[in-house]
């Protein structure tokens, strides 16, 4: 079992003082473990990390066979965890390729966790938006409806998602079908400090009966009153609208009800908060590395405390012109070298490394992919450090590291570089390099994860792409 730390070591006052009254937006903290499909009745968790712009196939994939595979340099950070991973080769994003074959690979985000179909949208270029629920949101909905409910539905985080203005490139998680031309997507939270405050910022009301508690109680009562007023307003508002407008108002109303629920649901012990450097600026490029690490730490802590069991981390918009890997050394630094196409954006690097470029271009591209894989290895490692039952938390997790493209330079959606870690309660047979031959729809992995998480489905997304990918178990 994970050990809960004494919540009193964590100061509510610090948050109230640092962030003003609104920090008293009190999250609810449950101490009881929900029941789950994990080993010994422990909860299972799912996290998906999406990193963009494909890989250089020759440098990425392992050599050797299913069990005696030899990891490439790019994947080498996973060597300590080789018994716990499943390297998934031969996956295609068929849902996208079949629906809109003319779309470039950058437009694939809406298909990754939904399995399609997307909904056509013209936003300066031909693109699709997500038009069905994504895997993480599906599982979370199922859990919240049952006895596995957690204080937080799910974590949906991104790195500088605000920079992207086009909706087709902004989301991997979807709550359901699009409303008109707008994706029904949870907010992608860029601000790690806001996530931290939401998850760990309050310690319930088991306080000292002093002034602070009274202030919190009054703030909560005010909010309840305001939300109640807004909720009734929305109910009447929706009655007289057309279908599409009414759907928009109903989503707003559901959000108000969710906020009310959060107010009602206070109590219990806090989980152990990770250390998050308060000086990290969520919107500063030089801090992206620290932001990504903080998101992993927050996810691990939230999983370990059973605050939520689902997380999606979108580590770039669909193009990723924004990441500059200055922390990897001078040649990656932001300052241009005076030549054309300074090697500064991930996007540009992927194009130059992927074809036509020289050895240096390829080396830089692989360095960056190794960087992302090393982050994933860190995540896996952190999950293994949490003791749970007779094993570790990783044993009850399905952690997916997924790229949106195969060969990024060619914008291809074939042979997606995806890696799964954790057996998810013994469901997946890990320690293997899974080659199936010839473009399997990636939907098969989504189905497998849904099944492993105890929320079984026959298919996910477009039904014709079938059931669970053979060989996962």
């Amino acid at each position: 079992m994970t050990h809960f730390h004494d919540p009193s070591r964590f100061s509510r006052r610090r948050f109230l003082e640092g962030l003003g009254l609104s920090a008293a937006f009190l999250p609810m903290l449950h101490s009881e473990y929900a029941r789950g499909g994990g080993i010994g009745g422990l909860p299972t968790r799912f996290a998906a990390i999406v990193w963009p712009n494909g890989v250089l196939h020759d440098a990425f994939w392992p050599s050797g066979g299913e069990h005696d595979f030899v990891l490439s340099e790019v994947l080498s950070g996973l060597e300590p965890h080789r018994d716990h991973i499943l390297i998934l080769d031969d996956l295609d994003n068929r849902a996208m390729m079949d629906q809109f074959s003319n779309y470039g690979g950058h437009a694939s985000l809406p298909y990754m966790l939904t399995g399609g179909p997307g909904k056509y949208k013209h936003a300066g270029e031909d693109l699709a938006i997500g038009d069905s629920i994504s895997l993480d949101q599906y599982i979370a909905d199922e859990y919240q409806a049952g006895s596995e409910a957690t204080p937080f539905h799910s974590l949906v985080m991104g790195v500088d998602n605000q920079e992207e203005t086009k909706t087709p490139h902004k989301y991997i998680s979807f709550s359901g079908p699009a409303i008109g031309d707008q994706p029904n997507a949870p907010k992608v939270e860029d601000d790690i400090h806001a996530v931290f405050t939401n998850l760990f910022g309050g310690a319930g009301d088991g306080g000292d009966g002093g002034e602070l508690d009274e202030l919190i109680a009054k703030t909560r009562a005010e909010r309840r009153s305001i939300l109640d007023y807004v909720g009734r307003d929305l109910e009447r508002f929706s009655e007289r609208l057309g279908t599409e407008s009414r759907e928009k108002v109903e989503i707003h109303l559901a959000s108000i009800r969710a906020l009310e629920q959060r107010l009602d649901d206070v109590g219990g012990a806090a989980g152990e908060p990770p250390d998050i450097d308060p000086t990290i600026d969520p919107y500063r490029k030089e801090h992206y590395d620290q932001i990504a690490m903080a998101q992993l730490d927050l996810t691990v802590a939230a999983f370990a405390s059973n605050l939520t069991r689902n997380a999606s981390l979108l580590w770039s918009n669909g193009h990723n012109n924004s990441w500059v890997f200055s922390w990897l050394g001078g040649e990656f630094a932001e300052a241009g070298d005076g030549s054309f196409n300074p090697l500064r954006s991930h996007h540009e690097m992927a194009h130059r490394g992927g074809g036509g470029g020289n050895g240096d271009d390829q080396r830089r591209k692989n360095t960056v992919d190794k960087y992302f894989i090393d982050k994933f290895a860190y995540f896996v490692d952190k999950c293994r450090q949490v003791n749970e039952g007779a094993g570790t938390m990783l044993d009850n997790c399905a952690l997916l590291m997924a790229n949106n493209m195969g060969n990024g330079a060619a914008h291809s959606n074939n042979r997606l570089p995806w890696v799964l870690a954790g057996s998810c309660g013994g469901y997946f047979r890990t320690g293997r390099y899974l080659r199936q031959g010839g473009g399997r729809p990636h939907n098969g992995v989504l189905v497998g994860i849904a099944n492993a998480m105890g929320t079984p489905v026959d298919s996910f997304g477009v039904a014709e792409y079938g059931g669970e990918l053979p060989g996962l178990q």
Partner: protein
Amino acid sequence: MEIPDPPTLRLIALPLALALSTGCYHGTDAKAGGPDADDAGGPNGGQDDGDADDDVPEDSSAVGLRPLRRLSVSEYRNTVRDLLGVDVDPSQFLSPDPQGDNGFFEPTLVNEGVADELLRAAEALAAAASERLDTLDDCDELSAGERTCAESFARNFGRRAFRRPLSDDEISELLAVYDHAQQAIELDHPQAMRVVLTAILASPKFLYHWQLPGRPDLDDGEVIKLDGYELAARLSYFLWSTMPDDTLLAAAASGGLDTAAGVSEAVDRMLDDERTRDTVRSFHSQWLALEGIDSVTKDPTLFPEFDPDLRRSMREEIEQFVEHVIEGDARVRTLLTDRTAFVDGRTATLYDLPGVEGDLLQQRELNAQTRGGLLTRAGFIAGLTNPASTNPPRAGHLIFERILCRTVAPPPPGATESFMFDDSQSTRWNYEQLESSEECGGCHRVVNPMGFAFEHYDAIGRYRDTEGPHPIDSSGTFAAASGDQIPFDDLMELSAILAEDDEALTCISNRWWRFALSRMEQDGDQPSIADAYTQFLDSDGDIRMLLGAIAKSNTFRFRAAEPGE
């Protein structure tokens, strides 16, 4: 001025024909009215029609839908500025709006995260505004009593916040919030008023561009005339990007917005008000992607002067210029050719204008040999270049897409990987190589020439005669939709050509419509669009005339019932 013929089918058809021949275009993205206008029941809007169009248009296809939409972040910001007068910028709480199909900001659905943001913004604003309640509603608690003042506040402030009078029930509901805050939560009067104010700011009646219900049993597409308050708000958010003022609300109350003549009078007053500046800034910033200058990075070894101060000065120079044009003769020709500039020491140095120093903006005339019109402004150009060099296809593409409303196919998969830049040659030479490529040439032959017109300006928009050892050649040919090939020597000449081009005027009209309607144009809008376009051309390309025509049009004053309504 020779006024071009009103648009006809040829404007629509030619780019498509061209598309087949180059394998590049998808086609045009804008209609001026064109084919649908003729058979959609005769436009009859316009300023001189008296009350001819006061009745609901009989043909239900003659107006468009008005889907429910939230206030955008900038509308929200402007609204609370005018409503509350507090020094809190709510955009610090709110996620920025993404771009909608129509190319302009489109607020997202209110998921849980957004609902949380909206509540936090309402709380912060109400906390600040509750310090100065007396300025929001003049009521003396001592003589009138606290609860009477709460009721007065709900009635009077509520009317401004919701942009319409509240029903007695609605006032009672707000008073219930007040009573609960006082009695159950045990707050004093000012604190209870803060809770009421928060509730108002979190209400959908404040947050949405609401509309009154149609009659029961509406048929899909049936036409509904907007009520005076609905129209007041619609006009205000279009022309001012903020809430209606008291004069507009009074006009709504008195029935002054029920007739075409009344609407026309209101619109003319609004166009003369300097609040149009917010709309003019917002439109041009989004239309021409002017915010690009805020985020681009330049190679500091080549352009050490490109610091945040210079960015701000460049942006301000463009915005002041656009305002100057719209508040002046408002002609498209002026926008694309005029040389008036508002420069401080930084931009004056960049433009090589002597005698201007410091931070204060001064009005100057740019050098006629090197500059003329919006497209030649440094802040526009620097947003379209690479960190160290120019990017002609990007500049050409922007002209193509934003000023001509032609759409271009994206580069084919793997495009950039096959393009290796030869540093010993000019930028123009390098991109010209793509024109002979089988894969890339279809589009680059079309997009490059307009981009090459920008070659006289470097990556931060400074004028140059040479690029290293290479003399600059910015000449080219503009392929008009008419099929004419019109030669130009430089960006000033290209701008002058665009200023008189039917396709460009159609496009500018189209973009203003999409901005005004907050959506893509629909068939039902076409009569109104065609009518406004005629007025736009008859006025020699007067953008204020276009805005007025849009605001006075049928598709603005009426709406079609939404399916399921």
